[in-house]
Symmetry: C2
Subunit: 153 residues, 2 copies
Amino acid sequence: MKISKREIKQRMERFEEVCRNSGMKLTHQRMEIFREVAQTSDHPDAEKVYQGVRKRMPTMSLDTVYRTLWLLKDLGLITTLGPPRERTRFDANLSHHHHFVCIQCGLTRDFYSDAFDELRLPDSVKAFGRMETTQVEVKGVCLKCNAKEKKPS
Amino acid sequence: MKISKREIKQRMERFEEVCRNSGMKLTHQRMEIFREVAQTSDHPDAEKVYQGVRKRMPTMSLDTVYRTLWLLKDLGLITTLGPPRERTRFDANLSHHHHFVCIQCGLTRDFYSDAFDELRLPDSVKAFGRMETTQVEVKGVCLKCNAKEKKPS
DNA sequence: TTAGGTGCAAATTCTTTGCACCCTG
DNA sequence: CAGGGTGCAAAGAATTTGCACCTAA
């Protein structure tokens, strides 16, 4: 799925601006890696980004792709899907439930909500395929981590 | 977070029933691994399950834990959080959006919904900590995979 | 009894790191 | 030209697999 030229341009401009403001160097590699993620809505993994950039820049190495992607994430220029740098976790709760996940420590708690369960999906989603379940993920900071933030050591 | 004795018992009974019906053997190892996941709402990873089971059964090996967890998942006795057996994926779309994810091939598409964005969280969630974002994940089967299912080669 | 299950150790896969050279600012 | 950035190769972490022995049915 391609992104419009206009949107890509905006994303690239934002990228360059954030780069400058944060003092990081604006290298050819970083531009191509960001461009690769910015120009698609396919949510590629590191390997996919690597393959894409390589076509334009055959000397690119996979470890630079990883370093750059995490850097871009820290700068808030991209986000990750699923638990980044985390292992798979398992859940024996088979009732329809939703999750609260702490973005600091990964603490995960189930919760229930009839309102969420009854959510009507927009028509645009129906075009993607057949729906099975809808789960809401609330990201935030848990009480413990919140306390640590306010009173550091 | 402990689960009530009553609920654990129900889960174990369901486990034994599914085991028998599916023809798989009801081994001591499998019971202890399932129990470990069933008795908590901590959403443990494989290592955590391994450590827990080991206290009761020191000969348990980590690879049996993995094999058993995936087996339990295939049987529908447990679910996984995050992209199971998948790599981290990246997204340059910073607008508030939600995801449709194909459970067969992993295809992921963004969509937008004001109704979802405005969702009011139940009070019970507020007790977990400070909220930041709420993202809806719709799981289903994409058009391509759906077509394959109906007309297998 | 016997086919499926387990433990061990080795293999894979994904991701990170140390180090010497390179290039942006 | 200085310090961060990159490529390479090797290390690490998470997960999987081959194989010989074991055990539930």
